[in-house]
Structures are given as C-alpha cells and as structure tokens.
Symmetry: C2
Amino acid sequence: MDHNSGAILVLSGPSGAGKSTLLKEVINDIGECYFSISTTTRQIREGESNGVDYHFISTKEFQADIDDGMFLEYALVHGNYYGTSLKPVRKALKAAKLVIFDIDVQGNEIISKRLGDISTSVFISPPTLNELKTRLKGRKTDTEDVIVARLEMAKQEIQRISEYDYLIINDELKTAANRLKVIAQAARLKFADNEIDEFKQKWEDID
Amino acid sequence: MDHNSGAILVLSGPSGAGKSTLLKEVINDIGECYFSISTTTRQIREGESNGVDYHFISTKEFQADIDDGMFLEYALVHGNYYGTSLKPVRKALKAAKLVIFDIDVQGNEIISKRLGDISTSVFISPPTLNELKTRLKGRKTDTEDVIVARLEMAKQEIQRISEYDYLIINDELKTAANRLKVIAQAARLKFADNEIDEFKQKWEDID
C-alpha cells in the first residue's frame, strides 16, 4: 500500500513572524500543495479571481454547506458570509496534496479536533517580542496603533504554543526554512484513520 | 534561542519488519544519536562491553534508581534486574542527541506518557502478514514454533498502530528509508515542555 492521501500542515504565528517568506523558501521542496483560501458569498471584485483570492459561491450554496457541516468556521460580515470550507480541502486531500492553512490559534484548535489524524501544526515565532516590534515598524505598513494591537495579540498567541506539534523560532532564515521543510515533508507521511483501519483489516489476511 | 536539547524517536514493529536495516540506511543523515540499551545487574559476560550490550550496574544502584523513579520499566529475571533506565537517556538528551528506542507497543505507551513532549513514535510494518511470514522463514534463524508466535504477536501489535505518530510500511527499502529519515529529522525539532515554558517567559520581556 502506498501513501496516496494528502495531509494537512497548519501554520500559525504573529504577523511579522515571517510565515510567507519561509513558505516561499521551501515550497519547491515539499511536493504538491494547496493553500487553503476562504470561501465567501460577497461579489467578486475587479482584479480578483475565483479560487485564488476566495472561492466565490452563492448564499444558497454557502447555507447548504453550513447545514452539511462543511465549514470549519464561518461568519456573517456586512451581510456576506466568509468561512473556511472543507470542500476544497477534501478535494485537495483526495489529490494527495499537502493542504496548508495559514490560520490562528483558534483555527488550529478546530482543525486538530476535526482533522487531527492527518494534521501537523507549526507555530512560527520571531525570537523575541522586541524583534517582532522592530520588524513590524520596519515594514512601515502598519500604524502605531495597529502595531501595538499586533504585539498584544502575539503575546496572547505565544501563551498557547504548547498546543502545536512544533515551534519554529524564525531567527536565522535558512535554519528556520530547513526546519519547516523537514516538518512539511514529515507531515505528508501522516496516515488518515481510515487508511490505518484499512491496513489493519488487510493485515489479517494470510494464506 | 537555538534548539539544543535532544529528542526521542521510538521505533516499534514486528521482528522481520526491517527496523535495523532501515536504521542503518539513515543513520548518517539524522545527526548524533544514542541507541537506548537496557540496564542490568547481572554479571558481565566475556565479549560483552559495558555501555554497548548493557549498562551493568550493582543491585544497590539499581534499587536506588527504582526508588528514584528512573526506570521506564524493569523486571527481575532469575535473580537479576533488567530494565530501561532514564539515566543514560537523560545524559544523551542533555548532549542534544536523538535517543532511539527499539521497543514494543507497551514500551511506547510508557514513553509517550512520561516523555511525550519530546518523543515521536514510528511503527514499522512489513506490507502484509504473508510477506512477514516469507521474511521470517527466509532468514532461517527461527523454528516453525517461533515463527508462528512472532506472526501472532505481529497481528496483535498491528492492532495498536493508531497509537503511533507515523506508520512506515516497509515495502520498498529506499522509499521506507527516506520516510524514516524525514521523520527522524523532524523528531529532533520537538521542544521539551520546559523549553516552551522558558520561551514563553522570555517572550514577555520588551523594552
């Protein structure tokens, strides 16, 4: 039996931890991936693509998927639904892809409850709060207020890192990237519970 | 903060699954290792070396270590103690080594209870029971009775593979070895609970 089903890699960590940079570094070494994107009922805007920015679906479809328990989480914002649907995730898993979630601590909690058998979680952290402050100030995209809020959120998230399978301290890019690569490669090797059951059953057969 | 503490890799699987062959294949690619060996109070025999075949210690020392909760498991056999001591394990972990246990399902249960934060467990299995039978007969080291007993034990162990982090089906040596390599490399990246606590505390500091 080969290992043909996909698996899940959850990445969490404060804005400024370097998740995207690390992912870019390793993306060519970890096999076929699918980046989980949100599903929404809002109108598609100019310059956006379906399946790239969001999965755009109708409200009727969204509600039916809610009823089918397809959403890991969802919210109604200004009359439009937004959520993380299992539909594209399942499709990617069937195609043996590594599904990557960039999601917060709450999101990881939900995924590990519902898909824990095939999911590996990694918390990516800057080495220190000071370093995070420096990085956030350096990229000049956030106001002082936003930076203060991000630092506060980071402080709270860090308190929950023991809920993760791995912690990567993004101090030196090459080292951190190499660690992420190894973890992502190992993540692919997780078997789903149903595969394990199948293997157990087949195992009983003997001439 | 660099990751300087060691970690644990538990390997289980029936005799004939190919654990030793796989380990030999990957040993040069997974950094410094320490293979856990048993501790005993029996006399050292000719040709044996302390620290290679067993850790040979006195009965007094063994009993003191039992009292200190140092043994993952132990048994008294024909008046001699045998057991798996945490003493050499802790020493190896301090030296940032990957401690490898070749241990059964019960052993893995104990390790994951006591050292779960830094341990990764792998069940190595032949592809089928028939294949295991063929391999055991082929190596001509076991009597027919022993083979029957080994197959029966394998059947029982396979029923508990869901207790392991990973399953490697040793069908094709190179594929299986590559999987073990990746898992062992990832295993090294586990942080101990006390390291996580230290990181959390340090994180609070900000100018």
